[in-house]
Amino acid sequence: MLKLKNVQTFYGNIQALKSVTIEIAEGEIVTLIGANGAGKTTTLMAVCGVVPPRSGEISFMGDPITGMEPDKIVSLGICQVPEGRRIFPYLSVAENLDMGAFLRNDKMEIKKDIEYVFDLFPILAERRHQAGGTLSGGEQQMLAISRALMAKPRLLLLDEPSLGLAPLIIKKIFEIIGKINAENNTTIFLVEQNANLALKVAARGYVIENGRITLTDSSKNLLANEEVKKAYLGL
């Protein structure tokens, strides 16, 4: 469904991605793990067209999307829950959800989907008129995921959804990630530093180091891999 082939990106003169090749099939949950500054966020931003690749190819559902404008890429069904959540701080919870459905016109269906995410995260229904910027970190993460779901994505990209959250909320969020995948057959590409957690929900994983994919395997094998254990599992 999603293919990255030898993707390279730059910020000015700084090369952030040196060689990223990733392939994800429809319906999968795949994770990307790596240390700080390895290029995880940049990989997701390259897929979304925010940081267009300087060389290499990205395709979605068999069609090239390299160099396409971000809004076009979103319209194909690729959605991101970005690092740091990026809630629109002065828009209410309801308006934030509305923005998630920006490219949709089916009013009735949008209403239903709002009910669906309120069902997933009842706290958001309670806070619907509150400004997004005033929510707690956990609530913001729930809102960020809900906002992405409002676009009805075929491929959902999640950038460190566990960052800064209490264990109980992390557990809940990961349950819901599994549920989204199981119920809607939404393909999920999950970036995490919490490798332990990520490799439990994902079937396969990639390891990125210094802008290069250095390893890919099933989660089971990665969990058993000595290098991975040392570097990412803190064992």
């Binding site: 925010v50 629109f88 920006f102």
Partner: protein, 300 residues
């Protein structure tokens, strides 16, 4: 009391004009954090366009109000086209460059447009006909407010209402608000940010052109430099109200208009600018982000 009222309404009229220009500064700043120094020139081009259209229509012997409306519409279209083009050629290529580069490009654009009009027209002041008739129903109030002022106030009010509807309730308005809060996230929900920026320039230029036509009718003459003066004042008003905030720009404009009007009326017209800037300094000491501005640290 009448004198006070006259000054009050005079200040309100000035404030309205400042507001029509300040909106462009504040909206552009809200979206791309750029002080569009060429904005005053867009307003000046609006006034010149109107003057040219009026000259042509006068030869055809058209009625005053109709001429003003047509001239206004053409000015709005022309200025919008200029605003759109300025963004595309002078700012868009510098979108990811350091902020100072875009600022310098803006100053360059401002000077270029001034000199372009100077060469294409003349450096002399040209008379601008006042086509707004003295309304009969206004006669009893003529000692406190004239017909031109009333037209300015009403037009500004209509523009404000339309703009509020645009920002609050339309799709592009929602996209504008989202873009001003987080450009990257706006892209990630599928907003065409380039289009939002273009629309912002067009809308800001359109309101500035309306201001240009109105003030030219009021003052009765224009030259290539009027945009610079009015632009600076409107910019001060936008900062006063809190740059980036639309209601702030309107409020700041009225505060500035009243300060000038009362300073002129009760002290001396020589002190109008002194008071205006004194007020600016005072407000910025106590509210660095402006009256309704959001301080940077809240701006996520």
């Amino acid at each position: 009391m009448d004198y006070f009222l006259e000054l009050f309404l005079g200040g309100l009229t000035r404030g309205s004009i400042y507001a029509l220009i300040a909106l462009g500064y504040t909206m552009v700043y809200g979206i791309i954090e750029l002080i569009n120094f060429a904005h005053g020139e867009i307003y000046m081009i609006g006034a010149f366009t109107a003057l040219i259209v009026i000259s042509v229509l006068t030869l055809m012997g058209m009625n005053g109000i109709a001429m003003l409306v047509i001239a206004g519409v053409v000015a709005v279209m022309y200025s919008s086209a200029y605003g759109y083009t300025v963004e595309k050629i002078a700012y868009k290529p510098l979108r990811n460059a350091p902020r100072l580069s875009a600022l310098i490009s803006a100053i360059g654009m401002s000077l270029f447009l001034q000199n372009y009009v100077l060469l294409a027209q003349t450096s002399d002041f040209l008379p601008f006909p006042n086509l707004i008739p003295d309304f009969e129903f206004m006669e009893p109030y003529a000692h406190i407010i004239g017909s031109t002022e009333i037209v300015i106030l009403i037009t500004t009010a209509i523009v404000m209402i339309l703009l509020t509807i645009l920002i609050k309730f339309t799709r592009i308005g929602k996209a504008m608000r989202a873009t001003s809060q987080d450009k990257t996230m706006a892209m990630l929900v599928g907003i065409n940010v380039n289009r939002v920026i273009s629309v912002t320039f067009i809308v800001g230029s359109a309101t500035a052109a309306i201001g240009g036509v109105l003030i030219a009718s009021h003052v009765g003459m224009i030259n290539f430099y009027v945009g610079f003066i009015a632009g600076i004042k409107a910019f001060v008003a936008a900062v006063l109200g809190g740059i980036g905030s639309v209601p702030g720009a309107v409020l700041g404009s009225f505060v500035l208009g009243w300060t000038e009007s009362f300073a002129t009326g009760y002290v001396s017209s020589d002190y109008e600018d002194v008071f205006a800037f004194l007020f600016l300094v005072l407000i910025l000491i106590f509210r660095p982000a402006g009256i309704l501005g959001r301080s940077e640290k809240n701006k996520v």
